[in-house]
Amino acid sequence: MNLTANRAGHFGLLALLAGFTLWFTASAWEADATLVNMILIGPVAFLALGLIAAIGIGLLLNPERDAEPAEPAETDTFRERWGVAIGCLALALYVLSLETIGFDVAGVIFCAACMVLMGRRNWLVIAAYSLFVGLAPVWILEGPMGIPVHTLILE
């Protein structure tokens, strides 16, 4: 079997989708096994699992299918190669830090980190722009929109 990284990823995705479908169906069945509760979940889960199995078998029978990514990797620079992965990580860290270091400070750090990742090196501009972009939306959220958020600097 031709198990390239891309094909392994596809098998992993199929396993994830099948796992979620099975887990959710079992959860719904345990909560209430009546037909009214399972009237849509049952057929949809059955269809999803059948198609996932068919796609998986198709992958096994066709060793060339999805051997390489549909979009060839652009590997010229660090940003092109790792930009998406680092972007995902940065977003996750930003969201997880919102309640810890405050929406304002988290926004400033996230903005500065993104600018550095994308090639900016003028620290004065990065600092000024990050302060504005990090603080202004939080102020609007708290002030005019009246939604309370956890902040460290802004009152």
Binding site: F24, A28, A70, C88, F103, S130
Partner: protein, 511 residues
């Protein structure tokens, strides 16, 4: 039938309200801004500004809210075209050809085309409302739960038609979307897949999920680029080009007419209209085209099809509100709040007793469509400069706004966490050509599908017989069979015409 005396009174009423012509441009501008920023949305804008309507006359209040609705409808297409990030779920199909036009340096024309289609679409939607308000409301009342369920199934299957041979993957993605939408407490009070978390009792927040799966995952892709338009010589900003794009809709009249009619018709259907109108119009236009392979690569007809349909669906969605007193979307639900704030109840009685007010609202919206053309041109003129801003300056505030917008929607961290989880899911699904559009449509329609299926079961006395005995249901079932057959045929044709293809290029329509 049209009541000419009431129409005359309606225009008299409109021109006797100078305040209306102050609040309408303001509403359009608010809608454009809220629609253009991913994470904010038209319902948020309407909810934020709803208290202001207490200080207005009833007609002024409704015109103000419909102006936000109209502005937001077009505003959502701006990030869809410029960044491939739909500002609203109604702008999903606008991405498919709008963004490829931008990558080719045709950003001015694409935005002008979208504005032209939106302006005409909005006008057609309200014009149809003028002409067929009462007959349509009668037809809507005849749609039962079985028909609503089947329409949702058609909406999901249509996505399969747009994936050019990835039908099975699109159906899997749609099924996962449906299952995700059913997480939480059911209408019968049964907890499903909540892990015991109170945040999941109300289910996954569809808005945060949509922002994540579309916006955030697309923004990650932009990290690799320096500008929205890579070629420096194509980053021009030209009001003449925008106006030319606006005028170019005259070359797309069949698409424009079809999209507007489809949008107005589908917009009537509660809970579904605007979300699928743009997709249905896009799919049909692509299937009828002599060059279907050019769709997803920057075909102007794709932009016109999507925008005319989502704009005219606004007029359709007003049918339920005015004729039946039933809101068909979040936006019309907020309008219903404005109705009750002014002690007015929509419905057949409202139409018969206050025909002049109803006509004034419709006529006001027709004039509003013209104003959208003018204000929209000026707005685009400013916002199109985004193509000259380096992405290192553009991306951080957009991501921050989307995260804060998702927080505003839920007033808890569950919104941003949902956004992150779905952005990862979006990245992975796109990598393997699973339609994220199908997942989103499943998410939007799943709960409604379950409710209508249960009601069909109950109405049929513990059987689904109403689905197979009602004439409209039978027509819809025939459409489902035809959709599946067409999708399988497209899949077979693709495989036979491109046997050499191993991985399949990502189709823009697959977003």
């Amino acid at each position: 039938m049209l009541d000419l005396a009431a129409i005359w009174d309606a225009f008299g009423m409109l021109f006797a309200m100078p305040m209306a012509w102050v609040v309408v441009p303001l509403g359009l501008l608010i809608g454009l801004v809220f629609g253009a920023v991913p994470g904010l949305s038209v319902p948020i804008a309407m909810a934020v500004f709803l208290p202001m309507t207490l200080y207005m006359e009833f007609t002024e209040a409704i015109l103000f809210l419909t102006a936000i609705f109209t502005g937001g409808g077009f505003g959502g297409s701006i990030p869809a075209i410029l960044m491939n990030v739909p500002g609203t779920s109604a702008a999903i199909a606008t991405c498919f050809d709008g963004h490829p036009m931008v990558r080719r340096g045709e950003h001015n024309r694409a935005l002008g085309l979208a504005l032209g289609a939106s302006t005409v679409g909005t006008a057609v939607g309200y014009l149809l409302l003028f002409l067929v308000l009462e007959p349509i409301s009668g037809f809507v009342l005849r749609l039962g739960p079985s028909e609503l369920f089947l329409v949702a199934v058609i909406g999901l299957l249509l996505i399969g038609l747009m994936t050019d041979g990835r039908f099975a993957r699109a159906v899997v993605a749609g099924c996962i979307g449906v299952l995700l939408s059913l997480i939480g407490m059911s209408s019968a009070g049964i907890e499903r897949g909540t892990f015991g978390s109170i945040y999941l009792l109300d289910g996954i927040d569809a808005n945060a999920a949509i922002i994540g799966i579309f916006a955030a995952s697309e923004l990650f892709r932009l990290v690799k680029h320096d500008y929205l338009v890579e070629a420096q010589d194509k980053r021009s900003v030209s009001i003449r080009e925008i106006a030319r794009g606006f005028a170019d809709i005259r070359h797309n009249l069949p698409t424009l007419g079809r999209g507007s009619l489809l949008g107005a018709g589908l917009g009537v259907i509660p809970g579904i209209g605007s979300s699928i109108a743009n997709l249905v119009s896009y799919t049909i236009t692509k299937q009828l085209s002599k060059e279907p392979e050019s769709f997803g690569k920057g075909n102007p007809n794709g932009v016109v099809a999507a925008e005319s349909a989502n704009s005219s669906s606004e007029g359709g969605s007003m049918v339920g509100l005015l004729a039946l007193g039933i809101p068909s979307s979040a936006a019309t639900a907020i309008m219903l709040s404005a109705f009750s704030m002014h002690n007015i109840t929509g419905g057949p009685r409202f139409i018969s007793d206050q025909k002049d007010v109803v006509y004034a609202i419709i006529a006001g919206n027709l004039i509003q469509a013209v104003m959208l053309g003018i204000i929209g041109l000026l707005f685009i003129r400013m916002i199109v400069y985004l193509v000259r801003v380096p992405l290192s300056y553009l991306l951080p505030p957009i991501v921050i706004c989307t995260v804060l917008g998702s927080y505003a929607l839920t007033s808890s961290l569950s919104g941003p966490v949902t956004l992150v989880a779905f952005s990862f899911l979006g990245v992975v699904l796109k990598r393997y050509n699973y339609s994220v559009v199908a997942t989103v449509i499943g998410l939007l329609l799943g709960l409604m599908m379950e409710g209508n299926l249960v009601r069909t079961w109950q109405l049929g006395g513990s059987s689904l017989s109403p689905m197979f005995t009602r004439p409209v249901s039978l027509v819809l079932i025939a459409l489902i069979v035809a959709s599946v057959a067409l999708a399988l045929w497209v899949t077979a044709r693709r495989k036979s015409s491109q046997p050499f293809r191993q991985t399949g290029e990502p189709h823009r329509g697959d977003a």
